[in-house]
Protein backbone atom coordinates (compact mmCIF):
# COMPACT_ATOMS: atom_id res chain seq x y z
CA UNK A 1 0.00 0.00 0.00
CA UNK A 2 2.87 2.34 0.76
CA UNK A 3 3.90 2.34 -2.87
CA UNK A 4 0.41 3.22 -4.02
CA UNK A 5 0.26 6.13 -1.59
CA UNK A 6 3.59 7.43 -2.70
CA UNK A 7 2.44 7.38 -6.30
CA UNK A 8 -0.76 9.09 -5.34
CA UNK A 9 1.24 11.88 -3.72
CA UNK A 10 3.54 12.19 -6.70
CA UNK A 11 0.57 12.36 -9.00
CA UNK A 12 -1.20 14.97 -6.94
CA UNK A 13 1.87 17.12 -7.00
CA UNK A 14 1.89 16.89 -10.79
CA UNK A 15 -1.81 17.64 -11.03
CA UNK A 16 -3.17 21.01 -12.02
CA UNK A 17 -4.21 23.54 -9.34
CA UNK A 18 -7.73 22.87 -7.99
CA UNK A 19 -9.30 26.02 -9.43
CA UNK A 20 -8.81 24.67 -12.99
CA UNK A 21 -11.75 23.18 -14.86
CA UNK A 22 -12.18 19.65 -13.53
CA UNK A 23 -12.61 17.97 -16.92
CA UNK A 24 -9.50 16.21 -18.13
CA UNK A 25 -10.78 15.34 -21.60
CA UNK A 26 -13.27 17.35 -23.57
CA UNK A 27 -14.50 16.45 -27.07
CA UNK A 28 -16.68 19.14 -28.67
CA UNK A 29 -18.28 18.14 -31.97
CA UNK A 30 -15.25 16.18 -33.06
CA UNK A 31 -15.33 14.51 -36.47
CA UNK A 32 -12.55 12.61 -38.17
CA UNK A 33 -12.59 11.53 -41.79
CA UNK A 34 -9.48 9.61 -42.86
CA UNK A 35 -7.70 10.46 -46.09
CA UNK A 36 -9.07 7.24 -47.52
CA UNK A 37 -12.57 8.64 -47.03
CA UNK A 38 -13.34 6.33 -44.10
CA UNK A 39 -15.48 7.91 -41.43
CA UNK A 40 -13.63 7.45 -38.14
CA UNK A 41 -15.69 9.65 -35.85
CA UNK A 42 -18.71 11.87 -36.29
CA UNK A 43 -19.61 14.83 -34.11
CA UNK A 44 -18.46 13.24 -30.89
CA UNK A 45 -19.12 15.33 -27.81
CA UNK A 46 -18.32 14.19 -24.29
CA UNK A 47 -16.29 15.17 -21.27
CA UNK A 48 -14.33 13.05 -18.86
CA UNK A 49 -13.58 14.38 -15.41
CA UNK A 50 -10.46 14.00 -13.36
CA UNK A 51 -10.14 10.65 -11.66
CA UNK A 52 -12.74 8.88 -13.77
CA UNK A 53 -12.39 5.35 -15.10
CA UNK A 54 -14.09 5.16 -18.50
CA UNK A 55 -14.70 2.24 -20.82
CA UNK A 56 -15.00 2.92 -24.55
CA UNK A 57 -16.99 0.14 -26.14
CA UNK A 58 -18.39 -0.57 -29.58
CA UNK A 59 -18.10 -2.92 -32.50
CA UNK A 60 -15.00 -3.31 -34.58
CA UNK A 61 -14.51 -0.23 -36.74
CA UNK A 62 -16.81 1.89 -34.61
CA UNK A 63 -14.17 4.52 -33.85
CA UNK A 64 -12.69 3.65 -30.45
CA UNK A 65 -9.12 3.66 -31.65
CA UNK A 66 -9.82 6.83 -33.59
CA UNK A 67 -10.64 8.58 -30.31
CA UNK A 68 -7.40 7.26 -28.81
CA UNK A 69 -5.32 8.33 -31.83
CA UNK A 70 -6.80 11.79 -31.69
CA UNK A 71 -5.97 12.04 -28.00
CA UNK A 72 -2.37 10.94 -28.64
CA UNK A 73 -2.18 13.48 -31.43
CA UNK A 74 -1.23 10.79 -33.87
CA UNK A 75 -4.02 12.20 -36.04
CA UNK A 76 -5.72 15.58 -36.21
CA UNK A 77 -9.52 15.87 -36.13
CA UNK A 78 -11.22 16.99 -39.34
CA UNK A 79 -13.43 19.33 -37.33
CA UNK A 80 -14.32 20.09 -33.73
CA UNK A 81 -12.03 20.72 -30.78
CA UNK A 82 -10.38 18.37 -28.34
CA UNK A 83 -9.10 19.75 -25.06
CA UNK A 84 -6.99 17.89 -22.57
CA UNK A 85 -6.65 19.47 -19.12
CA UNK A 86 -8.20 22.61 -20.58
CA UNK A 87 -5.68 22.85 -23.40
CA UNK A 88 -6.77 22.82 -27.06
CA UNK A 89 -4.83 20.02 -28.77
CA UNK A 90 -4.91 21.81 -32.12
CA UNK A 91 -2.68 24.50 -30.59
CA UNK A 92 0.06 22.05 -29.66
CA UNK A 93 2.69 21.84 -32.37
CA UNK A 94 6.21 20.67 -33.09
CA UNK A 95 8.23 19.98 -29.99
CA UNK A 96 5.12 20.62 -27.91
CA UNK A 97 3.66 17.34 -29.14
CA UNK A 98 6.48 15.36 -27.56
CA UNK A 99 6.08 17.30 -24.32
CA UNK A 100 2.32 16.79 -24.38
CA UNK A 101 2.74 13.02 -24.83
CA UNK A 102 4.87 12.88 -21.71
CA UNK A 103 1.71 13.72 -19.78
CA UNK A 104 -0.06 10.70 -21.21
CA UNK A 105 0.38 7.06 -20.43
CA UNK A 106 -0.43 4.85 -23.40
CA UNK A 107 -1.02 1.10 -23.48
CA UNK A 108 -1.84 -0.84 -26.64
CA UNK A 109 -3.07 -4.27 -27.56
CA UNK A 110 0.32 -5.09 -29.10
CA UNK A 111 2.30 -3.74 -26.10
CA UNK A 112 4.66 -1.60 -28.22
CA UNK A 113 7.77 -2.37 -26.22
CA UNK A 114 11.25 -1.66 -27.55
CA UNK A 115 12.44 -5.15 -28.54
CA UNK A 116 16.14 -4.57 -27.95
CA UNK A 117 15.83 -3.29 -24.41
CA UNK A 118 15.33 -5.13 -21.16
CA UNK A 119 12.21 -4.66 -19.05
CA UNK A 120 14.14 -2.22 -16.88
CA UNK A 121 15.41 -0.22 -19.87
CA UNK A 122 11.99 -0.10 -21.50
CA UNK A 123 10.52 1.53 -18.43
CA UNK A 124 13.59 3.70 -17.90
CA UNK A 125 13.33 5.03 -21.46
CA UNK A 126 10.11 6.86 -20.62
CA UNK A 127 12.04 8.67 -17.87
CA UNK A 128 15.13 9.26 -20.00
CA UNK A 129 13.15 11.12 -22.65
CA UNK A 130 11.96 13.53 -20.01
CA UNK A 131 15.54 14.15 -18.93
CA UNK A 132 15.42 12.45 -15.53
CA UNK A 133 18.72 12.02 -13.74
CA UNK A 134 20.13 8.53 -13.60
CA UNK A 135 19.78 8.51 -9.83
CA UNK A 136 16.05 9.21 -10.03
CA UNK A 137 15.63 6.54 -12.67
CA UNK A 138 17.39 3.99 -10.47
CA UNK A 139 15.03 4.86 -7.65
CA UNK A 140 11.78 4.98 -9.61
CA UNK A 141 11.99 2.08 -12.04
CA UNK A 142 12.33 -0.79 -9.54
CA UNK A 143 9.56 0.82 -7.54
CA UNK A 144 7.09 0.80 -10.42
CA UNK A 145 8.15 -2.68 -11.50
CA UNK A 146 7.42 -3.94 -7.99
CA UNK A 147 3.96 -2.36 -8.24
CA UNK A 148 3.31 -4.18 -11.51
CA UNK A 149 4.73 -7.45 -10.20
CA UNK A 150 7.78 -7.59 -12.45
CA UNK A 151 10.58 -7.42 -9.91
CA UNK A 152 11.96 -10.78 -10.99
CA UNK A 153 11.98 -9.98 -14.70
CA UNK A 154 14.07 -6.81 -14.63
CA UNK A 155 16.71 -8.04 -17.03
CA UNK A 156 14.52 -10.04 -19.40
CA UNK A 157 13.94 -8.91 -22.96
CA UNK A 158 10.33 -8.55 -24.19
CA UNK A 159 10.52 -11.70 -26.32
CA UNK A 160 11.35 -13.67 -23.18
CA UNK A 161 8.11 -12.64 -21.49
CA UNK A 162 4.53 -13.87 -21.72
CA UNK A 163 1.92 -11.56 -23.22
CA UNK A 164 0.56 -10.68 -19.80
CA UNK A 165 4.01 -9.82 -18.53
CA UNK A 166 4.74 -7.70 -21.58
CA UNK A 167 1.53 -5.82 -21.04
CA UNK A 168 2.53 -5.24 -17.41
CA UNK A 169 5.77 -3.72 -18.64
CA UNK A 170 3.79 -1.48 -20.98
CA UNK A 171 1.56 -0.40 -18.09
CA UNK A 172 4.60 0.23 -15.91
CA UNK A 173 6.13 2.39 -18.64
CA UNK A 174 2.86 4.25 -19.11
CA UNK A 175 2.59 5.00 -15.40
CA UNK A 176 6.18 5.67 -14.40
CA UNK A 177 5.83 9.39 -15.11
CA UNK A 178 2.59 9.52 -13.09
CA UNK A 179 0.62 10.93 -16.00
CA UNK A 180 -2.70 12.63 -15.22
CA UNK A 181 -4.27 10.68 -18.09
CA UNK A 182 -3.76 7.05 -19.07
CA UNK A 183 -5.10 5.67 -22.36
CA UNK A 184 -5.39 1.95 -22.98
CA UNK A 185 -6.55 0.69 -26.39
CA UNK A 186 -7.67 -2.93 -26.00
CA UNK A 187 -5.01 -3.63 -23.39
CA UNK A 188 -6.36 -7.15 -22.87
CA UNK A 189 -7.11 -7.90 -26.52
CA UNK A 190 -4.32 -10.44 -26.80
CA UNK A 191 -4.59 -11.93 -23.32
CA UNK A 192 -6.50 -14.79 -21.75
CA UNK A 193 -9.29 -13.91 -19.26
CA UNK A 194 -7.24 -14.61 -16.11
CA UNK A 195 -4.35 -12.45 -17.28
CA UNK A 196 -6.81 -9.80 -18.44
CA UNK A 197 -8.19 -9.50 -14.93
CA UNK A 198 -4.68 -8.91 -13.64
CA UNK A 199 -4.06 -6.12 -16.15
CA UNK A 200 -7.44 -4.55 -15.49
CA UNK A 201 -6.76 -4.65 -11.75
CA UNK A 202 -3.53 -2.85 -12.40
CA UNK A 203 -5.28 -0.14 -14.40
CA UNK A 204 -7.91 0.16 -11.71
CA UNK A 205 -5.25 0.50 -9.06
CA UNK A 206 -3.61 3.25 -11.10
CA UNK A 207 -6.98 4.94 -11.38
CA UNK A 208 -7.27 4.84 -7.59
CA UNK A 209 -4.13 6.97 -7.31
CA UNK A 210 -6.06 9.74 -9.06
CA UNK A 211 -5.07 9.13 -12.66
CA UNK A 212 -7.88 9.40 -15.19
CA UNK A 213 -8.06 6.14 -17.14
CA UNK A 214 -9.74 5.53 -20.51
CA UNK A 215 -9.92 1.92 -21.68
CA UNK A 216 -11.19 0.87 -25.11
CA UNK A 217 -12.20 -2.77 -24.98
CA UNK A 218 -14.24 -5.62 -26.39
CA UNK A 219 -14.08 -7.47 -23.09
CA UNK A 220 -17.77 -7.48 -22.15
CA UNK A 221 -17.29 -9.64 -19.05
CA UNK A 222 -14.85 -7.13 -17.66
CA UNK A 223 -17.04 -4.13 -18.40
CA UNK A 224 -20.07 -5.78 -16.90
CA UNK A 225 -18.16 -6.79 -13.81
CA UNK A 226 -16.57 -3.44 -13.10
CA UNK A 227 -19.62 -1.23 -13.62
CA UNK A 228 -17.77 1.94 -14.45
CA UNK A 229 -18.74 4.71 -16.82
CA UNK A 230 -19.30 3.31 -20.32
CA UNK A 231 -19.21 5.33 -23.53
CA UNK A 232 -20.48 3.35 -26.51
CA UNK A 233 -19.49 4.29 -30.04
CA UNK A 234 -21.39 3.05 -33.05
CA UNK A 235 -20.30 3.89 -36.57
CA UNK A 236 -18.40 6.91 -35.37
CA UNK A 237 -21.18 8.30 -33.19
CA UNK A 238 -21.50 8.31 -29.42
CA UNK A 239 -24.67 6.31 -28.84
CA UNK A 240 -24.52 5.73 -25.08
CA UNK A 241 -22.84 7.40 -22.14
CA UNK A 242 -23.80 5.68 -18.94
CA UNK A 243 -22.32 5.71 -15.45
CA UNK A 244 -22.04 2.26 -13.90
CA UNK A 245 -23.08 0.72 -17.22
CA UNK A 246 -22.56 -2.71 -18.70
CA UNK A 247 -20.95 -3.71 -21.96
CA UNK A 248 -24.24 -3.65 -23.81
CA UNK A 249 -27.82 -2.72 -23.11
CA UNK A 250 -29.00 -6.19 -24.11
CA UNK A 251 -29.80 -8.32 -21.14
CA UNK A 252 -27.36 -10.92 -20.04
CA UNK A 253 -29.40 -13.94 -21.17
CA UNK A 254 -29.25 -12.73 -24.72
CA UNK A 255 -25.49 -12.45 -24.74
CA UNK A 256 -25.11 -15.87 -23.17
CA UNK A 257 -27.41 -17.18 -25.84
CA UNK A 258 -25.14 -15.60 -28.40
CA UNK A 259 -22.15 -17.40 -26.96
CA UNK A 260 -24.03 -20.69 -27.06
CA UNK A 261 -24.97 -20.13 -30.67
CA UNK A 262 -21.32 -19.76 -31.53
CA UNK A 263 -20.61 -23.08 -29.89
CA UNK A 264 -18.73 -21.68 -26.93
CA UNK A 265 -19.32 -22.97 -23.43
CA UNK A 266 -21.56 -20.86 -21.31
CA UNK A 267 -19.49 -18.81 -18.89
CA UNK A 268 -19.58 -20.08 -15.33
CA UNK A 269 -21.77 -17.68 -13.37
CA UNK A 270 -19.83 -16.07 -10.55
CA UNK A 271 -21.47 -14.85 -7.39
CA UNK A 272 -20.46 -11.35 -6.55
CA UNK A 273 -21.92 -9.54 -3.60
CA UNK A 274 -22.03 -6.34 -5.63
CA UNK A 275 -20.51 -5.32 -8.95
CA UNK A 276 -17.05 -3.85 -8.59
CA UNK A 277 -16.32 -5.47 -5.25
CA UNK A 278 -14.37 -8.13 -7.02
CA UNK A 279 -11.61 -5.63 -7.69
CA UNK A 280 -11.54 -4.03 -4.31
CA UNK A 281 -11.34 -7.49 -2.79
CA UNK A 282 -8.47 -8.37 -5.02
CA UNK A 283 -6.50 -5.34 -3.88
CA UNK A 284 -7.13 -5.89 -0.23
CA UNK A 285 -5.93 -9.46 -0.51
Amino acid sequence: MAIVERHARARNRAAAPPDRAPSVVEFAGVSKTYESGDRGLELATFTIDRGEFVFLVGQTGSGKSTIMRLLIKEHEPTSGTISVAGKDLAKIEGKGVAHYRRNLGVVFQDFKLLPNRTVYDNVAYALQVTGHKRKEIRAKVPDILRLTGLSLKLHSYPDQLSGGEQQRVAVARAFVNHPPLLLADEPTGNLDPETSIGIMQLLYRINRTGTTVIVATHDNAMVDRMRRRVIEVHQGRIVRDEHGGGYSTEDENTSEFGLLMRGEPSPQPRRLSSPGDFFDDAFRG
Binding site: I72, E74, K95, A98, H99, Y100, R101, R102, N103, L104, V106, K112, L113, L114, P115, N116, R117, Y125, A126, Q128, V129, T130, R173
Partner: protein, 297 residues
Amino acid sequence: MAFFIKEALRSVQRNSVPSFAAMASILVTVLVLGIFIPITQATTGAANEVRDKVLVNVYLKTDAKNADRDRVSALLRRDTKYVGKVEFVSRQAAYREQKKDYPEYYSELLGSNPLPDTFRVTPDSPDNALKLRDALAPLTASGQRATVDPAIDTVKNRKDDTSNILFITRVVKYAMALLAALLVLASVLLISNTIRLSLFARRREVEVMKLVGATDWFIRWPFVIEGVLLGALGGVLAVLALTVGKVAFVDPLVSDFALLRAPETMQFGVLALLLLGASVGVSAMGSGLSLRRFLKV
Protein backbone atom coordinates in the same frame (compact mmCIF):
# COMPACT_ATOMS: atom_id res chain seq x y z
CA MET B 1 25.77 13.01 -24.37
CA ALA B 2 27.04 9.87 -22.66
CA PHE B 3 23.49 8.59 -22.88
CA PHE B 4 23.35 9.10 -26.64
CA ILE B 5 26.69 7.40 -27.21
CA LYS B 6 25.61 4.46 -25.09
CA GLU B 7 22.36 4.28 -27.03
CA ALA B 8 24.28 4.27 -30.32
CA LEU B 9 26.58 1.48 -29.13
CA ARG B 10 23.64 -0.55 -27.91
CA SER B 11 22.00 -0.14 -31.28
CA VAL B 12 25.11 -1.30 -33.16
CA GLN B 13 25.33 -4.29 -30.87
CA ARG B 14 21.69 -5.31 -31.18
CA ASN B 15 21.36 -4.60 -34.91
CA SER B 16 24.63 -6.11 -35.95
CA VAL B 17 23.51 -7.31 -39.39
CA PRO B 18 22.23 -4.00 -40.82
CA SER B 19 25.05 -2.18 -39.08
CA PHE B 20 27.57 -4.47 -40.70
CA ALA B 21 25.93 -4.01 -44.10
CA ALA B 22 26.10 -0.23 -43.75
CA MET B 23 29.72 -0.39 -42.70
CA ALA B 24 30.62 -2.77 -45.53
CA SER B 25 29.05 -0.52 -48.14
CA ILE B 26 30.98 2.44 -46.78
CA LEU B 27 34.17 0.39 -46.80
CA VAL B 28 33.73 -0.72 -50.40
CA THR B 29 32.83 2.76 -51.56
CA VAL B 30 35.81 4.36 -49.87
CA LEU B 31 38.10 1.68 -51.30
CA VAL B 32 36.87 2.28 -54.82
CA LEU B 33 37.07 6.05 -54.43
CA GLY B 34 40.52 5.73 -52.88
CA ILE B 35 41.77 3.86 -55.92
CA PHE B 36 39.88 5.89 -58.46
CA ILE B 37 40.70 9.41 -57.29
CA PRO B 38 44.50 9.05 -57.74
CA ILE B 39 43.95 7.36 -61.10
CA THR B 40 41.78 10.23 -62.27
CA GLN B 41 44.30 12.74 -61.09
CA ALA B 42 47.23 10.93 -62.66
CA THR B 43 45.40 10.60 -65.96
CA THR B 44 44.31 14.20 -66.16
CA GLY B 45 47.78 15.15 -64.98
CA ALA B 46 49.30 13.17 -67.81
CA ALA B 47 46.86 14.67 -70.27
CA ASN B 48 47.77 18.16 -69.08
CA GLU B 49 51.43 17.38 -69.46
CA VAL B 50 50.90 16.32 -73.03
CA ARG B 51 48.93 19.47 -73.68
CA ASP B 52 51.70 21.61 -72.25
CA LYS B 53 54.02 20.28 -74.92
CA VAL B 54 51.92 21.91 -77.58
CA LEU B 55 54.18 24.52 -79.22
CA VAL B 56 54.10 26.84 -82.19
CA ASN B 57 57.39 27.07 -84.04
CA VAL B 58 58.15 30.22 -85.96
CA TYR B 59 60.90 29.55 -88.53
CA LEU B 60 62.72 32.54 -89.95
CA LYS B 61 64.11 32.62 -93.42
CA THR B 62 67.66 31.27 -93.55
CA ASP B 63 68.94 34.63 -94.74
CA ALA B 64 67.35 36.59 -91.93
CA LYS B 65 69.53 39.26 -90.38
CA ASN B 66 69.98 40.08 -86.73
CA ALA B 67 67.69 43.08 -87.18
CA ASP B 68 64.97 40.82 -88.57
CA ARG B 69 65.42 38.53 -85.64
CA ASP B 70 64.99 41.33 -83.12
CA ARG B 71 61.95 42.69 -84.93
CA VAL B 72 60.19 39.30 -84.94
CA SER B 73 61.13 38.75 -81.31
CA ALA B 74 59.57 42.06 -80.35
CA LEU B 75 56.53 41.27 -82.45
CA LEU B 76 56.03 37.96 -80.70
CA ARG B 77 56.65 39.22 -77.21
CA ARG B 78 54.67 42.45 -77.41
CA ASP B 79 52.22 42.55 -80.27
CA THR B 80 50.77 39.09 -80.56
CA LYS B 81 47.87 37.63 -78.62
CA TYR B 82 47.83 34.15 -77.06
CA VAL B 83 51.57 34.14 -76.51
CA GLY B 84 52.75 32.49 -73.31
CA LYS B 85 56.48 31.93 -73.45
CA VAL B 86 58.92 32.68 -76.24
CA GLU B 87 62.19 30.78 -76.56
CA PHE B 88 64.75 31.61 -79.22
CA VAL B 89 66.77 28.79 -80.74
CA SER B 90 69.54 30.02 -82.99
CA ARG B 91 70.36 28.06 -86.12
CA GLN B 92 73.69 27.04 -84.56
CA ALA B 93 71.98 25.68 -81.46
CA ALA B 94 69.39 23.87 -83.57
CA TYR B 95 72.17 22.35 -85.63
CA ARG B 96 73.99 21.09 -82.56
CA GLU B 97 70.79 19.60 -81.20
CA GLN B 98 69.92 17.80 -84.39
CA LYS B 99 73.46 16.60 -84.86
CA LYS B 100 73.38 15.01 -81.45
CA ASP B 101 70.10 13.25 -82.20
CA TYR B 102 70.89 12.16 -85.74
CA PRO B 103 74.69 12.10 -86.04
CA GLU B 104 74.71 9.99 -89.23
CA TYR B 105 72.78 12.57 -91.25
CA TYR B 106 74.37 15.68 -90.01
CA SER B 107 78.02 14.84 -89.82
CA GLU B 108 78.44 13.27 -93.21
CA LEU B 109 75.75 14.24 -95.61
CA LEU B 110 75.53 17.90 -94.82
CA GLY B 111 78.39 20.25 -95.01
CA SER B 112 76.57 23.45 -94.20
CA ASN B 113 73.84 24.25 -91.71
CA PRO B 114 70.42 24.07 -93.42
CA LEU B 115 68.48 25.06 -90.33
CA PRO B 116 66.86 28.45 -89.79
CA ASP B 117 66.65 30.52 -86.63
CA THR B 118 63.56 29.45 -84.72
CA PHE B 119 61.26 30.93 -82.09
CA ARG B 120 59.58 28.28 -80.00
CA VAL B 121 56.38 29.89 -78.80
CA THR B 122 54.31 28.33 -76.05
CA PRO B 123 50.70 29.50 -76.23
CA ASP B 124 49.22 31.03 -73.08
CA SER B 125 46.90 28.02 -73.01
CA PRO B 126 47.24 24.80 -75.01
CA ASP B 127 43.76 25.36 -76.44
CA ASN B 128 44.95 28.59 -78.06
CA ALA B 129 47.74 26.96 -80.06
CA LEU B 130 45.81 26.99 -83.31
CA LYS B 131 44.61 30.56 -82.81
CA LEU B 132 48.17 31.61 -82.22
CA ARG B 133 49.23 30.01 -85.46
CA ASP B 134 46.43 31.77 -87.30
CA ALA B 135 47.47 35.07 -85.80
CA LEU B 136 51.02 34.69 -86.98
CA ALA B 137 50.20 33.14 -90.33
CA PRO B 138 46.67 34.06 -91.35
CA LEU B 139 44.98 32.16 -94.13
CA THR B 140 44.67 34.22 -97.27
CA ALA B 141 41.77 34.16 -99.66
CA SER B 142 43.61 31.72 -101.90
CA GLY B 143 43.89 29.21 -99.07
CA GLN B 144 47.60 29.81 -98.59
CA ARG B 145 49.20 30.99 -95.44
CA ALA B 146 50.76 34.40 -95.43
CA THR B 147 53.08 35.49 -92.65
CA VAL B 148 52.77 38.64 -90.60
CA ASP B 149 56.43 39.53 -91.07
CA PRO B 150 58.49 39.15 -94.23
CA ALA B 151 61.34 37.60 -92.27
CA ILE B 152 59.17 34.71 -91.17
CA ASP B 153 59.39 31.72 -93.47
CA THR B 154 56.78 29.40 -92.03
CA VAL B 155 54.76 28.97 -88.86
CA LYS B 156 54.19 25.39 -87.81
CA ASN B 157 52.87 23.57 -84.85
CA ARG B 158 55.63 21.46 -83.55
CA LYS B 159 53.63 18.40 -84.35
CA ASP B 160 50.99 18.60 -86.97
CA ASP B 161 48.71 16.55 -84.80
CA THR B 162 48.30 19.33 -82.26
CA SER B 163 44.59 19.33 -82.85
CA ASN B 164 44.52 15.58 -82.25
CA ILE B 165 46.36 15.92 -78.96
CA LEU B 166 44.03 18.66 -77.88
CA PHE B 167 40.97 16.62 -78.79
CA ILE B 168 42.07 13.37 -77.21
CA THR B 169 43.24 14.91 -73.97
CA ARG B 170 40.00 16.82 -73.67
CA VAL B 171 38.01 13.62 -74.16
CA VAL B 172 40.12 11.88 -71.53
CA LYS B 173 39.57 14.69 -69.04
CA TYR B 174 35.82 14.83 -69.56
CA ALA B 175 35.46 11.05 -69.46
CA MET B 176 37.33 10.95 -66.16
CA ALA B 177 35.21 13.73 -64.70
CA LEU B 178 32.04 11.95 -65.79
CA LEU B 179 33.21 8.63 -64.36
CA ALA B 180 34.15 10.28 -61.08
CA ALA B 181 30.74 11.96 -60.85
CA LEU B 182 28.95 8.69 -61.57
CA LEU B 183 31.01 6.88 -58.99
CA VAL B 184 30.29 9.46 -56.31
CA LEU B 185 26.60 9.32 -57.16
CA ALA B 186 26.62 5.53 -56.95
CA SER B 187 28.34 5.64 -53.57
CA VAL B 188 25.87 8.13 -52.16
CA LEU B 189 22.94 6.04 -53.40
CA LEU B 190 24.44 2.83 -52.06
CA ILE B 191 25.12 4.28 -48.62
CA SER B 192 21.81 6.07 -48.26
CA ASN B 193 19.96 2.95 -49.35
CA THR B 194 21.75 0.77 -46.85
CA ILE B 195 21.02 3.26 -44.12
CA ARG B 196 17.40 3.51 -45.12
CA LEU B 197 17.05 -0.27 -45.02
CA SER B 198 18.52 -0.51 -41.56
CA LEU B 199 16.26 2.31 -40.38
CA PHE B 200 13.22 0.75 -41.98
CA ALA B 201 13.79 -2.31 -39.84
CA ARG B 202 13.60 0.01 -36.85
CA ARG B 203 10.72 2.27 -37.72
CA ARG B 204 8.54 0.58 -35.10
CA GLU B 205 11.14 1.42 -32.53
CA VAL B 206 11.03 5.06 -33.60
CA GLU B 207 7.24 5.00 -33.42
CA VAL B 208 7.32 3.75 -29.83
CA MET B 209 9.89 6.36 -28.87
CA LYS B 210 7.62 9.07 -30.20
CA LEU B 211 4.66 7.65 -28.28
CA VAL B 212 6.41 7.99 -24.95
CA GLY B 213 7.20 11.62 -25.75
CA ALA B 214 10.74 11.57 -27.12
CA THR B 215 11.57 14.67 -29.14
CA ASP B 216 12.84 14.22 -32.70
CA TRP B 217 16.39 15.11 -31.82
CA PHE B 218 16.38 12.84 -28.80
CA ILE B 219 15.59 9.99 -31.18
CA ARG B 220 17.91 11.22 -33.90
CA TRP B 221 21.15 11.70 -31.97
CA PRO B 222 21.86 8.01 -31.32
CA PHE B 223 21.24 7.28 -35.01
CA VAL B 224 23.58 10.06 -36.11
CA ILE B 225 26.27 8.95 -33.68
CA GLU B 226 25.81 5.40 -34.90
CA GLY B 227 26.30 6.70 -38.44
CA VAL B 228 29.48 8.49 -37.41
CA LEU B 229 30.84 5.39 -35.71
CA LEU B 230 30.04 3.07 -38.61
CA GLY B 231 31.30 5.60 -41.15
CA ALA B 232 34.53 6.07 -39.22
CA LEU B 233 35.03 2.33 -38.84
CA GLY B 234 34.38 1.66 -42.54
CA GLY B 235 36.59 4.59 -43.52
CA VAL B 236 39.46 3.52 -41.28
CA LEU B 237 39.36 -0.06 -42.55
CA ALA B 238 39.31 1.13 -46.16
CA VAL B 239 42.20 3.54 -45.62
CA LEU B 240 44.17 0.75 -43.96
CA ALA B 241 43.53 -1.49 -46.97
CA LEU B 242 44.56 1.33 -49.31
CA THR B 243 47.77 1.90 -47.34
CA VAL B 244 48.63 -1.78 -47.54
CA GLY B 245 47.92 -1.76 -51.27
CA LYS B 246 50.03 1.35 -51.80
CA VAL B 247 53.02 0.10 -49.84
CA ALA B 248 52.87 -3.43 -51.22
CA PHE B 249 52.03 -2.87 -54.88
CA VAL B 250 52.20 0.72 -56.03
CA ASP B 251 55.35 1.99 -54.37
CA PRO B 252 57.62 -0.74 -55.84
CA LEU B 253 56.34 0.09 -59.32
CA VAL B 254 56.73 3.85 -59.11
CA SER B 255 60.26 3.73 -60.52
CA ASP B 256 59.04 1.88 -63.62
CA PHE B 257 55.89 3.77 -64.49
CA ALA B 258 55.90 7.50 -64.94
CA LEU B 259 52.13 7.66 -64.57
CA LEU B 260 52.32 6.52 -60.95
CA ARG B 261 54.74 9.33 -60.23
CA ALA B 262 52.40 11.92 -61.67
CA PRO B 263 53.11 15.14 -59.81
CA GLU B 264 49.50 16.28 -59.74
CA THR B 265 48.35 13.35 -57.58
CA MET B 266 47.58 14.57 -54.09
CA GLN B 267 49.48 13.38 -51.09
CA PHE B 268 48.31 10.03 -49.76
CA GLY B 269 47.77 11.47 -46.28
CA VAL B 270 45.52 14.22 -47.60
CA LEU B 271 43.58 11.68 -49.64
CA ALA B 272 43.15 9.41 -46.60
CA LEU B 273 41.88 12.30 -44.45
CA LEU B 274 39.51 13.41 -47.17
CA LEU B 275 38.06 9.92 -47.57
CA LEU B 276 37.66 9.47 -43.82
CA GLY B 277 35.91 12.81 -43.48
CA ALA B 278 33.61 12.02 -46.38
CA SER B 279 32.66 8.59 -45.09
CA VAL B 280 31.87 9.92 -41.61
CA GLY B 281 29.98 12.91 -42.96
CA VAL B 282 27.97 10.99 -45.54
CA SER B 283 26.90 8.25 -43.16
CA ALA B 284 26.04 10.65 -40.33
CA MET B 285 24.02 12.84 -42.65
CA GLY B 286 22.53 9.78 -44.30
CA SER B 287 21.20 8.41 -41.02
CA GLY B 288 20.01 11.79 -39.81
CA LEU B 289 18.18 12.61 -43.04
CA SER B 290 16.74 9.17 -43.74
CA LEU B 291 15.24 9.23 -40.27
CA ARG B 292 13.13 12.24 -41.14
CA ARG B 293 10.59 10.12 -42.96
CA PHE B 294 10.03 7.89 -39.96
CA LEU B 295 9.82 10.72 -37.47
CA LYS B 296 6.50 11.89 -38.88
CA VAL B 297 4.21 10.03 -36.50
